[in-house]
Symmetry: C2
Subunit: 372 residues, 2 copies
């Protein structure tokens, strides 16, 4: 199954003609999952090869406008792009994000008189007080201001962190396990980890043929881990003919932060194939970055190192860092410097660094074992 | 004083890479007034020669997303662009629009933790029940859901129509008179008329010199409409030496509609120099247009004819009508056909038709009398 990540917006604070506001799409076969949705995301989607109508899940890291303000319009445009079949009602779009997200979407859709051709549900993550300074916390009175559901809204869950792992368990199905973890920012912020389930290894059919075993029901039993008895009387265990199971891929997307909070991120992101982290300002401006709840490339690299991530992708650059192809010789700010600053920290590790740009698509490769 | 209108988005329903969602700026010396603010308006502003930080007033015709969803982000970006002077607090940004607008802005700014460096006030127009079908009316419970003002919010007015004129009186100052009027759409929609005040005519200084009157205080008295007595004993009235007063310019911007409602629009828009009206679909699709609360070029032209407007500008085109420079020979939909359809209705009148495109700037010329 192919899997890739497409960056739709890599700028911080606001969208510009050079860099869209935060948004990226994790594409697996047949499904697009959107992470953050700054203003203009639907326009960026139209410029990309992705299709809005295929977005089935949305994850919002935090409620800052540059990650959120494109969502009501995107939902309306998904709806315009839908071709509902009379005999097949469209599936529910699940939206995950911090407490307050439900009210934001509800009020925006209700006041704008927006009807959707599909149902949606908002699953809210309950933040902890430590995720932001006091002024960043939402008053409970605010988030409960409107109790009437939008006509297409289905009741969503309220998710609390698991006390053992400090992670929020969002999805656990045949294909994926999705968790959220806490970050520290000016307002409560979250990261998300998407992990493919392990797949059973392939049968070593060459060996089976040598043993005189022809394709048939016995193959299925071996594949399921059972032993079979050959005509010769020999008992063949699955372990003898099954390659090791295939580890699933893991993609982790951090929201804005000046630091992870607690241990959840380590559990959720350990061994990530792709770890997407913000790097708003260069190392030399770390003090300013932290004051605004943001990270530098050095800080992002330290997180990737802790998680032993295979690839660190930096994004959410201050708009002062122009994309490399637009940079002029007299521009002081050079985005490629951000890459070097991250690489410095990662010297000697096996973590690669990539700078995201709008419309960059990064394949997430399924790793077979080195012996095959 | 120069005055012009710049179109930032001319597409309907949603923003696309070819046509932004609805937004236009009326620029007078030193001030930018924004009419509607669809998603992506701040990006379009950055692509234009206008500056977000100069926007001092915002008018929202109706609460559909393609006219509204860019507003929270724009306010945040105006704030980022502000250079507040310690001794001069930034002026209040006045925002005008239908009931419900106050709550939308408040909830969006509050939930996103957006602080602004300037105060703002939302002045709500109370719609009448006849402005839309029943399903388009907002329940009062919804619009009163949150009573706590945003920290930068100042109390705004609630404006009802004047029973004599059926117009909403919004602004009446030394320079401008601004009114709103009712339109029929799927949700309550309004149009706005901005009228410059009449200016006193210029003094005919050639004539004054002939009469032996030198520049001085007497000039001022004449300019103010008073009479003066010359050395010869002759009484000179202002009327003899003042050119006729200069009529102010009038710019009218209609929101989405399938028809004006009542007589307000005639009073507000009579003799408009520029009348901006939507033309979502071509004449051949009038039934569909009306069903969705929209107009055709023919319908827009009829309104312009009633108002004896000097220039009719069409915008809010279905995204199927590509800008002329992007149109391919095999495209069926031709936006220039919309112009011809409006011109057909206006044959024999003195109304010109202009098709708006994103980033078109249209000067609104101050008309001196034909004798000068
Ligand atoms: Zn951000
Ligand atoms: Zn943020
Ligand atoms: Zn519209
Ligand atoms: Zn509309």
């Amino acid at each position: 199954m192919s899997m890739d990540v497409t960056f739709l917006g890599t700028g911080s604070a606001y969208p510009s003609p050079h860099r869209g506001a935060s948004a990226l799409v994790l594409r697996t076969e047949g499904e697009n999952w959107l992470f953050d949705c700054g203003e203009g995301t639907q326009i960026q989607l139209m410029k990309s090869t992705l299709r809005a109508g295929k977005i089935s899940k949305v994850f919002i890291s935090h409620l800052h406008g540059d990650h959120l303000f494109g969502l009501p319009g995107l939902l309306c445009t998904i709806s315009l792009n839908l071709n509902p079949q009379p005999d097949q009602p469209p599936p529910c779009v699940d939206i995950y994000g911090p407490r307050g997200l439900r009210l934001f979407i509800r009020v925006a859709l209700q006041l704008s008189g927006s009807q959707l051709l599909f149902p949606y549900a908002v699953h809210e993550l309950q933040p902890s007080d430590e995720q932001c300074p006091e002024e960043g916390r939402l008053s409970p009175a605010l988030t409960t201001a409107s109790e009437t559901l939008h006509p297409q809204e289905r009741p969503g869950r309220t998710v609390h962190p698991d006390p053992d792992t400090d992670c929020y368990h969002l999805i656990d199905d045949k294909q994926f396990v999705v968790k959220a973890f806490k970050l520290f920012h000016r307002v409560p912020s979250f990261g998300f980890s998407v992990e493919e389930r392990e797949r059973p290894g392939r049968l070593n059919t060459d060996l089976l043929k040598e043993l005189g075993l022809k394709p048939g029901p016995l193959y299925g039993r071996l594949k399921n881990g059972q032993s079979v008895t050959l005509d010769s009387g020999r008992v063949l265990t699955a372990g003898e003919v099954l390659e090791p199971p295939l580890k699933g891929r893991k993609v982790c997307v951090f929201g804005d932060c000046s630091a992870p909070l607690g241990e959840g991120f380590k559990r959720a992101c350990y061994g990530a194939d792709v770890l997407v982290h913000e790097a708003t300002l260069e190392n030399g401006q770390q003090e300013k970055a932290v004051e605004h709840g943001h990270s530098t490339p050095g800080m992002a690299a330290a997180v990737a190192l802790t998680c032993e991530a295979k690839t660190l992708v930096l994004h959410h650059f201050s708009q002062r860092y122009k994309p490399e192809n637009l940079r002029r010789d007299d521009d002081e700010d050079d985005v490629s410097e951000l890459k070097r600053q991250a690489e410095l920290v990662l010297q000697g590790s096996r973590t690669d660094v990539i700078l995201a740009e709008d419309f960059l698509t990064l394949p997430v490769v399924l790793k077979r074992n080195s012996t095959t």
